[in-house]
Chain length 354, copies 2
């Protein structure tokens, strides 16, 4: 029977992308601000005739723009279809040991899915009670290390010196630092790629660059690491990044000023939101991301989630032992967050009076 | 040492995407005609603000448009980042037997690369001398069958009754028919997907839809096959198709009239080119694609390739035992092909007089 040879997997369920409008959508950590003005110009001037040709398989316009932004050489930059593509390619390329790879028990939900998909042995290390990573847990024999920093969905950040300590103890395997959220206040490990040949830093255009709709992720590391990834990538699919993504992505990364301005705005709104959430009785790890992962001291998570949804506010709720009490709330505009706080205040009040 | 755990592969080398202009580019089988007029409209009206949001992970606007075009249900359509993404996902999903999968020794050059990448055992079956597939070669125990039909890079087409005979003999494994070129005169196996639950038909927007630059491929098959592929896809990367690809792809597939008109134009030019190539001393299998795979009776392949390149005409030359004497010439516009024929006539004349 043909079904005997099918690879069956536990599929990841992404955050809802509702087709109804006038929702305040705070469930997938998108940026509330539009992409950089240069992206609008590129889109306006794009010629549909050019789409009959394959895109440049080396993605040089985008790779060079990223390299310029971070002051690294272009042969140390790898781009892919969102950081999921980049990370899964890195798992496939680098994690071929029989010894388990290590990552936290609470982290980005794709790591164990990719490990299962590629038959990579793995071990999930429990976080501390405050959601922090205990670095010594990663000082044991392993086939590789993956850390989201700041971590998802907790938002907690591990200081760069601890990250470096973990890399120091793992010179014989590849260490991947997944920095999807680092622009919102984390400390990037990027300065360490010159020192550690086995360190891969992965970032994305989906959050701080306001381009989730284009699907662009990238990795930076030693020439050797990037070369190995490119070899695997070219054996999958030579042309993954389409022409609109290459052109608009390059335009986005060139505008440092707009990037810094919008990131600062998100951070400011987040800090205001933290204060308000505390006032309303929520607790959370100190987020360095564009979301807050919070639980309420007395009102059940699912009640709040359901009532918010009824009020047309969409946030994210995960299942799982510890995190089932938490809501993940993406940071929107000031106006959106004011509506969220007012609505929460109303919902919590109703609950207490019921 | 971290390099001990790296997956090393033999990377596929794609056709050159030269950055110089005013070349006649006939090396990667792109369509010489622009995309459908609706694609221009969508591009003109696209709002860059929308790109801050993730695309619809179910890709419904594109999936539904493809389903409408082919009169199948939407849950029998899978879309991916070019047919390479779709095919590699199908290999990973369906080919998990210990018995080798089968495909021809001369065919699309990615099949053995994916098989190696995923550690899938495979056996390459020699084509007949005229580049045809002998169907009986596929009536043996195997872990799956993949056939490009029409085949690449030969252009030869296997009649649908032979394809069905092969499927009939392989009911217990998945049979993939890769129909990247079928719109140019092949017989699609699509009508058979209702009859055979294990048949997957794969096509692309890169050739007949003039959208190589957007990276869109798709597969059609039984609900079960598509469901298994979606599960694996969602465990890789939930958001592979970006917003521009979804919107412009849907617009392209909706215009049946333009599609039929441009495909007919390519076929007409191809038939004229065949006559001219014969007149100039070339021989080739009867192509049902948008390219001709031809060898010259007396002038060496590499000489012609080099001289064409000097005359700013780029075609494709593959290495390998039998195919090293052949040029693959994509079909351009009438005007481009007239230049190609005139140039070939000049080059061949020079060679004979040298």
């Amino acid at each position: 029977m043909w079904e005997d040879y099918v690879r069956t997997v536990e599929p990841y369920v992404p955050g809802e992308q509702p087709k109804v409008s006038n929702l305040i959508k705070l469930n997938t950590n998108e940026n509330p601000y539009p992409p950089a003005p240069g992206v609008f110009d590129v889109l306006k001037n794009m010629d549909a005739v050019s789409l009959k040709k394959y895109p440049d398989p080396t993605c040089s316009v985008l790779v060079d723009a990223i390299a310029d932004f971070y002051h690294v050489d272009s042969d140390r930059v790898f781009v892919g279809v969102g950081s999921d593509d980049v990370l899964s390619m890195a798992f496939l390329t680098f994690f071929n040991s029989d010894v388990p790879i290590l990552f936290p028990n609470i982290t980005y939900s794709f790591y164990d899915v990719w490990a299962n998909l590629y038959r990579i042995p793995f071990k999930q290390i429990p976080l501390m009670e405050d959601f922090s990573v205990r670095k010594e847990d990663y000082f044991v024999p392993n086939g590789g290390v993956v850390l989201a920093n700041p971590n998802a969905p907790t938002g907690a950040n591990l200081p760069l010196k601890d990250i470096e300590d973990i890399i120091e103890h793992n010179r014989d395997q590849v260490v991947i630092i997944d920095e999807a959220y680092t622009d919102f206040g984390g400390e990037s490990a990027l300065p360490l790629i010159d020192k550690y040949e086995n360190l891969l830093v992965v970032q994305t255009f989906s959050k701080s660059r306001s381009l989730a709709g284009l699907r662009i992720g990238y990795a930076m590391g030693s020439r050797k690491l990037i070369k190995y990834m490119l070899d695997v990538k070219f054996s999958f699919n030579s042309y993954t990044m389409n022409t609109p993504a290459l052109l608009m992505g390059a335009a986005a990364v060139k505008d440092r000023e707009y990037f810094e301005k919008t990131v600062a705005a998100v951070i400011k709104t987040r800090e205001w939101t933290k204060g308000e959430l505390k006032r309303l009785g929520f607790s959370f790890a100190d987020s360095k991301t564009n979301f807050i992962f919070a639980r309420h001291e007395s009102v059940p998570r699912d009640y709040i989630f359901k009532r918010l949804r009824e009020e047309k506010i969409l946030v994210r709720a995960f299942n799982g032992d510890i995190i089932k009490d938490y809501l993940r709330i993406s940071i929107g505009t000031d106006e959106e967050m004011r509506v969220v706080i007012d609505t929460l205040e109303k919902i919590l009040g109703e609950f207490e009076n019921a």
